[in-house]
Amino acid sequence: MIELQHLEKRYTNPQTGAEFYAVKDLSLSFPSGEITALLGPSGCGKTTTLRMINRLIEPTGGHILIDGQDTRRERPEQLRRRIGYVIQQIGLFPHLTVAQNVATVPDLLGQPKAQTQQRVLELLELVGLEPGRFAQRRPAELSGGQQQRVGVARALAADPPVLLMDEPFGALDPLARDMVQDAFLEIQRRLKKTIVMVTHDIDEALRMADRIALMNAGALAQFGTPDDLVRRPASDFVRQFLGEDARLRQLAGLKAADLMQPGDATGLPQIDGRLNARSALSIMLRERAGAVAVLGEDGQVKGVLSWQALEQAG
């Protein structure tokens, strides 16, 4: 668990002496084994908050505890080697091979070469890159999506309990983003890391995060599950930021097949189970139907997706 206690980052303009709070009196707990999204408009302090956790930025006040231990009791380099870090520009080292990139932190920690080599192969496998094909390539030879997978593998290399991600999927085109996000969720289901992810993309937050910390002007606007924010916005800012179509955005992150229930499908319009729930809703509106029949990949009816199920989804 990561705890932020009265965290503060204050900048002073050296000329005018004016003070500016990038983050002000922020107290927050990121639960273990969950993905928490730091969401908010640009300049709200979300990236500053993330970078204070691994001390790329030093706080001017407050404390950060990781599993009860104050992060300031350790040298920053030591601390960072225990925390995985993934950034938007991916930041792979272009002069090193994929394998060498992934091995960065184990090498810094002085782990035995043979063990690291084994670990690198496992990790490439884990993120869906065939080691035989990719280990010896340079980052420039990979697509954006493949590079970001390597970025994730590199962050996981020393098996850190905590992963910090700064707009990790922001530089990818929508198709690659969907694929990498799916792959990443799959990995997280297995590894159960404590993940803090900065994003300004509401869809990404709704889709990926177990919890969302919505920030505004250096302070917390609301902290809760995606459902909390969508259904019970704490303020006008939260409602406006998520938008009137927040419910639809949330549905877009869910698959029809995951929401269907057993039932009588006779006479209902049929949809492909791989469609997302928002598309299913759109079809229900078009067909003036209260429910649709959901088909499996074999074309057989697997269940029924009803209006009520959509209403409760989330």
Binding site: R80, Y85, I90, H95, T97, L108
Partner: protein, 394 residues
């Protein structure tokens, strides 16, 4: 069968004709044609006397005209042959220089000199252009015989090694001054390499420091730019007074051989000149490393030192090395002037040639200097591309 074999030939022709290369080949052919009618040898009874101009005999002239025209024509009808023809033309220029000077010197005294005249230079210029064009053409064809345009190199080597050129006045001068030539060439190299080494030792840490501070970078680069604008002769002159003063004030320095003239001011000036490209490319290269990569390195727990040595420096090195290459080229030139303050080097031949009006002596200094610049530059470029490939930039 014939349709099969003619298809690639037709494709070749299309590539050759389609491009702008035809113009290049004609641009090469014109000076070669003109060269056939110009004098090839200037024969003088001694190094500085008036001389007479000798033209090519009719058989040479006819062969020269045919060869000059054959290059552009072959580029149109049989592009794969162009590299061979251009190479032969280039090597033949040197060969003929040898045979014509040899013929001219028959029955002359030892003091007589047979120099290359305008015909030779124009021919070599034209053939050089043709070889360049043939290289581009071969690259476009992707031909297996990509090395054919380099055929001139072994041909030229054979010409030189066979002693064919020994009658040429420049080689004659070399024969007379052989030990002096070796000595000055070594001094030239010594000057260039020492200045380069000093400039790296001073410039590299400065560049690293400046790359981290905006204001330092501005000051340092401004200063280095300022030095570069001072003409090399003036800089050499300016250093005489302070170094002479230093040497008379501190006998220890004088004992080390430091004085107002000679190697000390030459090395100082050359080091200052080499500093700019090394500083400028260093700062640009170090700053050019992607901030995302550096942020990732820090975020993964690298210390500042680890980040510099493992990430920033390797990524900056190829661009930085190209600055070193520029510095080397500049230094070979400046070293030629260093003779004026008694530092020696190939400039010795250039300036004594200028004083006595002996063009051959000037060539004896200038041509090796130019070759030295090319060789150094090629070596460093090779190092650059090897590094770039190893560092994943290629």
């Amino acid at each position: 069968m014939s349709a099969l074999s003619s298809a690639p030939a037709a494709r070749d022709r299309k590539i050759a004709v389609a491009g702008d290369l035809q113009a290049v080949f004609w641009l090469g052919a014109l000076p070669m044609l003109a060269a056939c009618f110009l004098p090839w040898v200037l024969l003088r009874p001694n190094r500085i006397a008036q001389g007479e101009y000798l033209h090519l005999p009719a058989s040479y002239l006819a062969l020269g005209l045919v060869l000059a025209l054959a290059v552009p024509v072959s580029a149109r009808v049989w592009p794969r042959l162009t590299g061979v023809l251009a190479s032969v033309a280039l090597a033949l220029g040197f060969w003929w220089l040898g045979t014509r000077t040899g013929a001219a010197l028959q029955g002359q005294s030892d003091l007589a000199r047979a120099s290359a005249s305008s015909g030779v230079w124009l021919w070599l210029l034209g053939a050089g252009i043709a070889v360049y064009g043939a290289g581009v053409l071969a690259a476009r064809l992707g031909a297996v015989q990509k090395w054919l345009p380099w055929l001139w190199l072994p041909l030229l080597l054979a010409t030189v090694l066979s002693g064919q050129l020994s009658h040429w006045s420049v080689i004659r001068e070399l024969g007379v001054q052989q030990s002096r030539f070796v000595q000055e060439l070594a001094q030239h190299l010594r000057l260039v390499l020492s200045a380069l080494g000093l400039a790296v030792v001073i410039g590299a840490p400065l560049a690293v420091w400046a790359s981290r501070r905006e204001r330092v970078a501005g000051t340092v680069l401004g200063l280095a730019n300022g030095i570069q604008t001072v003409p090399s002769l003036a800089l050499l002159g300016l250093l005489i007074a302070p170094l002479a003063a230093l040497s008379s004030a501190f006998p220890a320095l004088r004992a080390m051989g430091i004085s107002g003239i000679g190697t000390a001011p030459a090395l100082t000036a050359m080091t200052l000149y080499a500093l700019l490209p090394i500083l400028r490319n260093g700062v640009v290269a170090l700053r050019g490393v992607s901030p995302g990569v550096l942020d990732a390195a820090r975020g993964m727990g690298m210390t500042d030192n680890q980040r510099f040595w493992r990430v920033q420096l390797p990524l900056a090195l190829p661009v930085w090395l190209s600055g070193l290459r520029q510095a080397a080229a500049v230094l070979v030139g400046v070293a030629s002037v260093a003779q004026l303050i008694g530092a020696g080097g190939l400039g010795y031949f250039i300036f004594s040639g200028m004083q006595s009006g002996a063009g051959d002596l000037i060539l004896l200094g200038a041509v090796p200097a130019a070759l030295l610049a090319i060789v150094l530059s090629t070596l460093l470029r090779g190092l650059e591309s090897v590094l770039a490939r190893r560092l994943g930039r290629a």
